[in-house]
Amino acid sequence: MNRTQRIAAMAVSALAVGVLAAGCGGSGDDSSDGKVTLRVNLFGKFGYKDLYKQFEAEHPGVKIVESAEGDLGKYNTKLSQQIAANAAAGDVVAIEEGQTVNFLQSADKFVNLQDHGYADIKADYLPYVADAATTADGKTTIGLGTDVGGLAMCYRRDLFEKAGLPVEREEVAKLWPTWQDFIATGEKFQQGINDPKVHFIDAATNTYNSILMQGSKETYFDRDNKLVVDSNPAVKNAWDLSTEMVDAGLSAKLVAFSDEWNAGFKNGAFATVACPAWMTGTIKGNAGDALAGKWDIATVPGGSGNWGGSWLAVPKSSKHQKEAIELIKFLSSKTGQMGAFESEGRLPSLPALYDTPELKDAKNDYFNNAPTGQLFVAGARNLEPVYLGAKNVPVRDAFENVLRSVENGQRSQADGWKEAIKAAQKAAK
């Protein structure tokens, strides 16, 4: 190697280090040529595709790129990492109900919407939706509500018929005013269908969460963030009812949102699914066109309930905050929420929409023309805010896991309850 080659080689290695270091500085800013790319990070299906087109048409030079993670747990992990590191979270991120309290702990990492005209639109939202994304001192609001999880019960008409149960949604609703009635109906269903491969419910955890979220203003934590699992009767009640369903052999014992659960829809492994408004999109996607019209929707035992719902936020790490704020205002506006309802069945969090004919008279042809507007709106109007502590997710995960172990026969119900409390106390640390 002669001298020139040596110098060249040294230069190359020095350059390599330089390039690597520059690579850490993040992607280049693309606004210099007048084009702005907004990155939207979501989980699951929000149904925003047409809305993006509309927004892009109204804002020349803005391009929207969506990335959607199907797995909520994975999404939350990644988002927590990105927010904690104050980097790369995207220009718009979705925050799921269970995580809002969590992200409020680092409210300084999000754009405070109160500095951007939040006062003018706050009153449009269901009060608890507005409060949930605002810090306790009321000074910082990190997200705008998109949808709420007004609850109903989705069921398979054809399987009900086979089992000798009524199939019309008004009659089906009469079968289960309470969860005890629901269990009794389930027992009749199992007898009537007489097929070990078909069960009444998909998973004990889904029913458990539905019961828990309709039973109380708080679940695992009180408003002082003290763990109250063993003293809150709502938790025990949800536990007892769902383990009773397990004992009665009603559950298909699937892990909710797993590949097998997804396959279970196509294979007709279960006849009912607790059904927040957004679940209609999930069912349609999983069950496929072949089962169109075989699904229907009735009211949920207990009348109403709440499961899920999301907020859109702009992380401070966004380089295009102005455009991003405009975008989340648009997506959570009447137009935006109506669009999401039409494409994915997501129930708006703007009560003003509940009286519009578009929502009130909305029907879903996949679900045998069920009047989804009426069904879900009725539930949504009565929604009570449920307080979820900062450690809600780990405690819920711990509880669900023990419930699944009881469901799988790995533990007895009594052992399970003790174990669940122990696991909750550990997870709440």
Binding site: R3, R6, I7, A9, M10, S13, A14, A16, V17, L20, D71, L72, G73, N76, T77, S80, Q81, I83, A84, N102, F103, Q105, S106, K197, T205, L254, V255, A256, F257, S258, D259, E260, W261, A263, G264, N267, A269, A390, K391, V393, P394, D397, E400, N401, V402, R404, S405, E407, N408, Q410, R411, K426, A427, K429
Partner: protein, 297 residues
């Protein structure tokens, strides 16, 4: 001038590795140690110095020890057959086969497949209700197995997944070093009437010793850090818990669960440090054991 250059040049050549290692290896290592001495919430930040409290808690954390048992169990179940199979495979690939390059490329294919795809496919193969393995068991009159439901069956399924992915990779590395073995040794052995099996044990294995040590260490590090395969094996809600009683949760999964679901960054850092120490111990045990394989002189 030229002299200085000659002295500096080698350091300049190796410097990128050390600079990158300092940034992405050494600094995180030390910082993790620092974080592990604190009560540190991921989003709320540092909640104060707690000394060795996290380490003390970890010693009595039954969930951690269960995850440790799972990790070591899956590691042994996956790595031992994997390395034996890879060595045999390397020997076969080194013999006179038709379309040799095709076979050699072929064994590497599972490794270039995206691990996410592998996880999904194997998750479906070992699925409880509609899995192909249970279907096959059914056709010969056996009861279906809830592969995720038991410790042994979930370990087995995950080990199969790991082996499928890494056996070919290790076989190719072993093959490369096998080709450096002098042919005369085999010829001499043949003349002495040694069987193929005897040749394998008395020539191939001893000659491959350094490479076997290398692949074992790499496999050990990978095995102890095992994360993606068991995570993807249990899809759906709370997959990070590795089954309803944590029957296939590995230490790496427990770490991520503590950090990002539990929001306990300090505690997760403690797990990370113990994991690091464990890998070091395992690597040393590995080398010590493999040293005992006799070398041919």
């Amino acid at each position: 001038m030229a002299k200085t250059e000659a002295r500096v040049a080698p350091y300049a050549f190796v410097s990128p590795f050390f600079i990158v290692f300092a940034i992405f290896g050494f600094f995180p290592l030390v910082y993790t140690l620092w974080v592990s001495l604190h009560d540190w919430s991921l989003l709320a930040g540092n909640q104060g110095f707690v000394g060795l409290a996290n380490y003390r808690e970890l010693m009595h954390d039954t969930d951690f020890w269960r995850a440790m048992t799972n990790t070591i169990g899956i590691f042994v179940l996956a790595t031992v057959p994997q390395l034996i199979l890879a060595t045999v495979l390397a020997q076969v690939l080194n013999s006179k086969l038709r379309a040799r390059t095709f076979w050699r490329m072929g064994v590497l294919l599972p490794n270039v497949t995206s691990v996410a795809a592998v996880g999904i496919i194997f998750g479906l193969i070992f699925a409880r209700d509609y899995g192909i393995v249970n279907w096959a068991l059914g056709t010969i009159g056996l009861d279906p197995i809830d592969w995720q439901g038991h410790r042994w069956s979930s370990w087995l399924a995950i080990s199969v997944m790991v082996d499928w992915r890494w056996t070919g990779y290790n076989a190719l590395i072993l093959l490369a070093s096998l080709q450096a073995v002098p042919k005369e040794l085999y010829e001499a052995a043949r003349i002495d009437g040694a069987s193929a099996w005897r040749q394998f044990w008395s020539i191939t294995v001893p000659m491959l010793r350094p490479t076997i040590i290398f692949v074992s260490i790499v496999a050990t590090i990978g095995g102890i850090q095992l994360f993606t395969e068991p995570l993807l094996f249990g899809s759906g809600i709370n997959a990070i818990a590795g089954g309803s009683t944590g029957q296939f949760q590995t230490v790496a999964m427990y770490l991520v669960q503590q950090a990002f679901t539990g929001q306990r960054f300090g505690y997760a850092s403690t797990v990370a440090w113990v994991l690091f120490l464990l890998i070091a111990v395992f690597a040393i045990i590995n080398v010590a054991l493999l040293r005992r394989i006799k070398s041919v002189d």
